[in-house]
């Protein structure tokens, strides 16, 4: 599935909830689905800059695809991490190199998260790009 299609799917899911608190309940539930990240990876080198909470992202290359894993110490942010991983993980390096999207705008996140937390999401995308360029 293309990255664009995955974004569309998540956007559709979020739009299903009219009430903001319901959206948050959904995001919290998404966070619960996140695979645990071994503590040995929760180190400063894997930290995402720009987040008010701590977010760690790691990357593994399998053939020409990149697999991202991550977590956060904050429950709601864990849900956001899950969404970002759903969109970008398991994509080819070529697809990831071509990514040039304002994910906050694409997912209408500006309506539900504050500018501080939006910069955290942008930080996650930057980290993914960094990993991609190194691959």
């Amino acid at each position: 599935m293309s990255i664009e299609k995955r974004v569309e799917d998540i956007k559709e899911d979020l739009e299903f909830f009219e009430d903001e608190l319901q959206k948050y309940e959904y995001i919290i539930d998404l966070g619960k689905k996140l695979d645990p990240l071994d503590e040995k990876y929760q180190i400063p080198a894997n930290l995402v800059h720009g987040c008010t909470s701590q977010v760690w992202l790691i990357c593994e290359q399998v053939d020409n695809k990149l697999i991202f894993k991550g977590t956060s110490d904050a429950i709601i942010v864990k849900g956001l991490v899950y969404m970002i991983l759903q969109i970008f993980s398991d994509s080819t390096i070529e697809e990831l190199k071509d990514v040039d999207m304002d994910i906050v705008h694409e997912l209408n996140l500006s309506e539900i998260i504050t500018p501080n937390r939006q910069s955290g999401v942008i930080g996650m995308i930057k980290k993914i790009k960094e990993y991609t360029l190194k691959a």
Partner: protein, 394 residues
């Protein structure tokens, strides 16, 4: 009961509990801003036409009101600034920089830490920090030890901690400091919103005052400078309205307060500050203290019923701010959810990172009340917190 005096509460259904960050403005203050800009907008202390004279008179009346409000001896001791941050930076760079040692407390806001770092000071190197003990109490014994080792220091201490609401016994602090020939500045950012302060009774040397945390517009504050220091404090910045004589070789400055108020001032803000103080005079500190104590106790009592809540101090010697966390939860998660339930509070380190680090926490959830808050605000907060906790439980 007093919300009717604040237009904000007519227009908003937010439960406003972020008063330590800024207070709402009474209608009289808002009206004074409109009146200045719509009816007599002119510069002060320069031109001599009617509106300019009116603006100058109103500006100087605000100075007189503040002088009386804090019981300063004369109006020359009152210098208007942008706020407490500017007041502290002003005194730090124009007077206190020459002191060998600066003594601060563990509960300081960054505004009373970073100006000292800017002078190249660090812990043990021109900067000393008084320890806290149980219940975040100021360690008077340690303070006196520091003064014994470093007499003739400059002591710069907060009156009420913005993060924890802890009230320091500044009268005792000032008295001990003076015993060791030290000079004292008090960061009074949180003071005037909650309690009467009297410059003569305190015998304080410098007292930094916030306007916007005291129901006045943003961008205005003041520094009280005891008369005996007025000649020793250097002008922090110079320019229009500070000058007596200038030629291309030299200049001479006016006396205080004018030599310290360079450039066009925040005229509307100062006039609004005067109105805010008049409003407080009308309400009376006796009423304010009674209401706040009652609501603060109720807040504490209801918060204590919530599961896994952790406090860092009890409410003795505290006012305004109540800081807490929930075991196992990041304050940020709670803050996001209660915001969506129309509760305005602050989560984070509250510009007091050193005390947060010392307590081994990243920050807190801070509820800060004012006299216009009531039981109903507390009830709505508790409902929202309960709902947030439910949503965040595993």
């Amino acid at each position: 009961m007093f919300k009717k005096d604040f237009t904000y509460f007519e227009n908003s259904d937010i439960v406003y509990l972020d008063n330590a960050a800024t207070t709402q403005k009474p209608k009289a203050v808002v009206d004074s801003q409109i009146e200045y800009y719509e009816e007599y907008c002119a510069n002060t202390h320069r031109s001599n036409f009617g509106d300019a004279n009116k603006a100058t008179l109103k500006f100087e009346n605000a100075r007189k009101t503040l002088k009386e409000f804090i019981n300063a001896k004369n109006k020359e001791e009152i210098i208007f600034t942008k706020g407490v941050t500017e007041s502290i930076n002003f005194i730090a760079s124009s007077y206190a920089k020459d002191f060998k040692t600066i003594i601060i407390s563990s509960l300081e806001h960054h505004s009373n830490i970073v100006p000292w770092h800017m002078q190249g000071r660090s812990l043990g190197n021109g900067l000393e920090v008084v320890k806290y003990n149980k219940n975040l109490n100021f360690d008077m014994e340690h303070f006196e030890e520091l003064l014994k080792e470093n007499p003739k220091s400059f002591v710069s201490i907060t009156h009420i901690s913005n993060a924890f609401g802890k009230i320091h016994d500044i009268k005792q602090i000032i008295s001990i400091a003076h015993k060791y020939d030290s000079v004292v500045m008090i960061d009074g950012a949180q003071s005037l919103a909650h309690m009467k302060v009297d410059m003569q009774e305190l015998d304080v040397d410098f007292f930094a005052i916030s306007g916007h945390k005291t129901f006045a517009p943003t961008g205005v504050g003041a520094i009280y400078i005891k008369e005996k220091y007025l000649k020793d404090v250097k002008a922090y910045q110079t320019g229009g309205a500070t000058i007596d004589q200038v030629d291309f070789n030299s200049s001479t400055l006016l006396d205080s307060p004018y030599k310290f108020e360079a450039g066009t001032q925040n005229i509307a803000g100062v006039i609004g500050f005067g109105e805010a103080l008049e409003y407080l005079n009308h309400i009376g500190y006796e009423n304010i203290e009674t209401i706040e104590k009652d609501v603060f106790n109720y807040l504490n009592q209801e918060l204590k019923k919530l599961p896994n809540i952790e406090f860092y101090n009890d409410i003795s010697d505290s006012i305004g701010s109540r800081s807490f966390n929930f075991k196992g939860l990041i304050h940020d998660d709670v803050g996001i959810l209660v915001d969506k339930m129309k509760i305005a509070l602050r989560v984070g380190h509250h510009c007091a990172q050193p005390i947060m680090k010392s307590l081994n926490i990243k920050g807190t959830i801070r509820v800060s009340i004012s006299f216009y808050n009531d039981y109903s605000d507390v009830d709505k907060l508790i409902l929202a917190l309960k709902k947030a906790l439910k949503m965040l439980e595993n």
